[in-house]
Symmetry: C2
Subunit: 427 residues, 2 copies
């Protein structure tokens, strides 16, 4: 029985209890959200996930960290360290996006190293196996795709990205309208290559019921991928992108009816004045399914600083109702991230999520800022370090710039505004 089915029967799962406790909300709120498909708790039913996480309406905005090898970088120890660091500095979920080396080994390493929900993109493994074993993506089959999905479900994966909305029709629309960047989703690129060469429909769309059967069996959450997400702000909110979103909204309903949980993935590269509209569209067209966005990046011109371009878009998206932010690191558009890139990416994304939570009115969000403001007002540096989103960074920075007077900082020294005004009022 899947969680949706269980909850419909009035039973409270241990996952719901944990999520309600972590969020400080009533269990019934979570139960109703999951049944309606407005909240997901990605959690493979074949094992005990240590730390289940709720994603969706009324809950704290969650942050996903990505790890994974590429053909150019196959380093098991580095990816293991990224997984551990991700949890340490506050990522809620982890995706293993490996495309180089022993993919199953990387996946199991990710599983062992992270206690929260784990996600993957099975089409990577299906495509790469076809290339390695048969000489090309075009020799992939619908059966091998579903085989890989089931294999990954058996490896205790909690959610999978599946690009079910990439169809022949919507790709034709993309071509006829024209785009600066065509397709920037790797999963979509693999699928399209196969579809065009074989003159076939996307099996993840055509045989969506087969996908649902596997998802049902292991109770894995489907993260319906946006293969046609814009890769340039110039392409944002175009025909192909919205056509795909409409399809995903229809599939969401079918999945929920089958007792399968669904979230919807979103862009990508979007000018900041289009971000809120994109969230609204997703909420309307996909019936309030949790929205999982990558960025959005509000400009294309800042490689090396894309944790910042994504934090701008992510904060606006979260404030407008996006539920789940995929981190973007400074290394996006440059190469595979380093450990330091991972740290910066997660913190920037957590800042965006929290800035959104203040606006959403999430329980405790503003209290955090209030506590920090009190600590600042009291010139209580120990408390400021404890409350900082990255205590280590503040502690180190503070130690590297010790002021002459212990309670101020070196920016103003003895001319600290807070201190001066405090004394002036007291006098």
């Amino acid at each position: 029985m899947t969680q949706i089915e269980l909850l419909k029967q009035g039973k409270i799962s241990s996952q719901v209890k944990r999520v309600a406790q972590d969020e400080g909300v009533e269990e019934t709120f979570i139960v109703e959200g999951v049944i309606k498909g407005e909240i997901v708790i990605p959690c493979n039913s074949t094992y005990n996930l240590s730390h289940p996480v709720g994603i969706g309406k009324g809950l704290r905005t969650k942050v996903n960290s990505n790890i994974g090898s590429s053909p150019d970088c196959i380093d098991y120890e580095l990816e293991r360290q990224k997984a551990i660091l991700s949890k340490q500095i506050g990522a809620d979920t982890l995706m293993d996006l490996s495309t180089g080396g022993d993919l199953a080994a990387f996946r199991r390493l990710a599983r062992k190293s992270f206690s929260g929900p784990l996600g993957t993109v099975p089409i990577y493994e299906a495509a790469i196996e076809a290339i390695q074993n048969k000489g090309g993506i075009i020799f992939m089959t619908a059966d091998t795709i579903f085989e890989v999905i089931e294999r990954q479900a058996k490896d205790e994966v909690d959610f999978i990205t599946v690009h079910c909305g990439v169809t022949r029709t919507s790709f034709d629309k993309l071509k006829s309208e024209g785009r600066v960047m065509d397709v920037v989703s790797r999963g979509c690129a693999f699928l399209l290559t196969w579809m065009l060469a074989n003159n076939n429909e996307n099996p993840l769309y055509e045989y969506f019921d087969m996908l649902l059967e596997i998802a049902y069996k292991y109770d894995i959450t489907l993260s319906l991928g946006d293969g046609f997400r814009p890769g340039s702000i110039i392409d944002a909110t175009d025909h192909a992108q919205i056509e795909e979103l409409i399809i995903l909204g229809e599939l969401k309903e079918r999945a929920n009816l089958r007792g399968v949980q669904v979230m919807i993935e979103g862009p990508g590269h979007i000018p900041l004045n289009e971000v809120s509209a994109n969230v609204l569209l997703e909420k309307k067209l996909c019936h309030n399914a949790p929205f999982y966005v990558l960025g959005p990046l509000v400009t294309d011109i800042a490689p090396g600083y894309d944790e910042i371009t994504a934090a701008i878009g992510g904060a606006i998206a979260a404030g407008a109702g996006a539920d789940f932010l995929c981190y973007v690191t400074p290394s996006e558009h440059i190469g595979l991230p380093t450990l330091e890139d991972v740290r910066r990416g997660i913190i920037a994304t957590r800042i965006a999520a929290h800035a959104g939570d203040i606006v959403k009115g999430i329980k405790g969000a503003k209290d955090w800022d209030l506590a920090m403001s009190h600590a600042r007002k009291n010139l209580d540096w120990q408390k400021q370090i404890e409350l900082a989103i990255d205590p280590e960074v503040l502690k180190t920075a503070r130690l590297s710039k010790p002021p002459h007077e212990p309670n101020v900082c070196t920016m103003c020294g003895k001319y600290c505004a807070i201190k001066i005004v405090e004394e002036a009022i007291k006098r």
Copy 2:
């Protein structure tokens, strides 16, 4: 004769010519903007500023960098290097906020090292002189404040922050309503200490006409400071803040009538859903005077990463019509910034400004993103480096992660989505 007077007589100043050329707009557009007080070109009339800059309606959003000593950090060479770096990596203006060592020496160093408009906050020097020469801020006099302002005008300063809206009445409002953080502006703290101890009104408000006479004589632009800006998102958009803004709007009209240019300073710490309203209020209450914001920081909990919290607020503010962003570095709330902090602060703020310019429809803004997207589509890395907001960082990062195939990157290696789709379509 001031620029406003000159332009009213139908003459075109060399500054207007340079700004029109830099922005790619008609000279008449600049002339009308300056006359209406919707654009400022800060430019002291007693010398030839190498690189005049226009700030305001219809122009590219500008970025200010701050340098300056504190009692705890007196390092002439470091501040000189910050000034030079600021120009190199794209700051439009520079403010010298020194409060430690020989203030005049720091100011002249800043002037020599930066070819764009230079700003200062004269109340710092007036207060510190009173402390050093007479034993306390309370021994400052109205005369010494105006003396210092004229002294700084003679040192070729182009704009000055003056906290003219800090009045006895608005401070009473602040106290009676209550605030988490009271006052976080150093200039306001100095003024209030003097006002409360001497039971006097703020001389910059009471004798505003004297201030205008000095500003007129040297044609320096007044940047009307927001002494009551919120220092916590909890205090945002409150009575004291808006009361001060109303006063600044009145003073703006008086200054423009006297032929003096004015911009208005804004917060500070603001939740992201209040940022646009703050810009609207400024534009309405201050009759479309250029708006110069510090951040805004959309959360208080991220010391060490405040270039990011500020980029989020700054991008939204710029998109909503703010004209001028004061940079915030990772070191804000921790101490005086290092050179690396300055670099990160300026780039983050430039990203925010550009994200806003895309929304404003500033000439050429979207073209930059389009050119970068074309370079990405063509896997043209040399072009991407040339177009990047920080070419050096991209170049170094790219060299540190060389891919096996020269035209892709190490994130996907040979599985580059752009490359795969290109090949699939061609087939």
